[in-house]
């Protein structure tokens, strides 16, 4: 079946502009994660959604970052007033449930802030 998809695959923006990144999880997966991967760094947890529960936003680096998940499926990560340090690969992953299940990752969105 279809895997996790993300769009756009690449995004170049100017400092100060807002960007929206989209994630379509695997159908039926109730858990959805956003991560940030900077060059040479490990994956940094940003936010977690599980079903209809309140999301865990504890990994969001600043209030310029926000995310929502509509209808328990598609998720959008929004970065307002982008800064050069926001340049990274943003990865989305989904899994079956809250428990220790395998995460399946999308291909990522490569964000470059000029």
């Amino acid at each position: 079946g279809a895997g996790v998809s993300q769009s756009p695959s690449n995004k170049v923006t100017e400092k100060g502009k807002d960007v929206e990144l989209r994630c379509d999880p695997i159908s039926g997966h109730t858990a959805l994660y956003w991560y940030r991967q900077s060059l040479g760094q490990g994956l940094e947890f940003l936010i977690y959604f599980q079903g209809n529960s309140a999301p865990d936003k504890s990994g969001l680096p600043s209030d310029r970052f926000s995310a929502e998940r509509t209808g328990g499926s598609v998720s959008t990560l929004t970065i307002q007033r982008t800064q050069q340090e926001d340049s990274a690969v943003y990865l989305c992953a989904s899994s079956l449930e809250r428990e220790a299940r395998t995460q399946y990752f999308g291909p990522g969105t490569r964000l470059l802030v000029l």
Binding site: Y35, F45, F105
Partner: protein
């Protein structure tokens, strides 16, 4: 503090030269340890999940093992197509957050 350390950072092997990648961890309670492969420009691809010490999983030329302090990813007779970054992650008990290591960049030369 829960943490994951992978070594070496980079590894170059000749085709057919077997080796092991290490993932050392400290965690208060382990719900699962995961291995992923990541090719350049792509998202991580799931390889294995290990849940308890002594457990082993195999897939083609790869074998993952787990002790109470570390996990190894053994690569037997690697081929150039095994070249990638290999990521280790763990899921501590009582949380749904995953902690990732920084990975081992493997290059297999023909």
């Amino acid at each position: 503090e829960d943490q994951v350390t992978q070594s070496p950072e980079a590894l170059r092997l000749q085709e057919g030269e077997s080796s092991s990648l290490n993932c050392s961890y400290t965690v208060s309670g382990l719900r699962g340890l995961f291995w992923y492969r990541q090719d350049p420009g792509k998202g991580p691809e799931f390889l294995f999940t290990l849940y308890s010490a002594g457990e082993e999983k195999e897939k083609e030329r790869l074998k993952a093992t787990l002790t109470k302090k570390e996990s190894f990813l053994h690569i037997t007779a690697p081929k150039p197509e095994d070249s990638a970054t290999y990521l280790c992650a763990l899921r501590p008990s009582g949380t749904y957050k995953y902690i990732f290591g920084t990975g081992t960049r493997l290059k297999v030369l023909a």
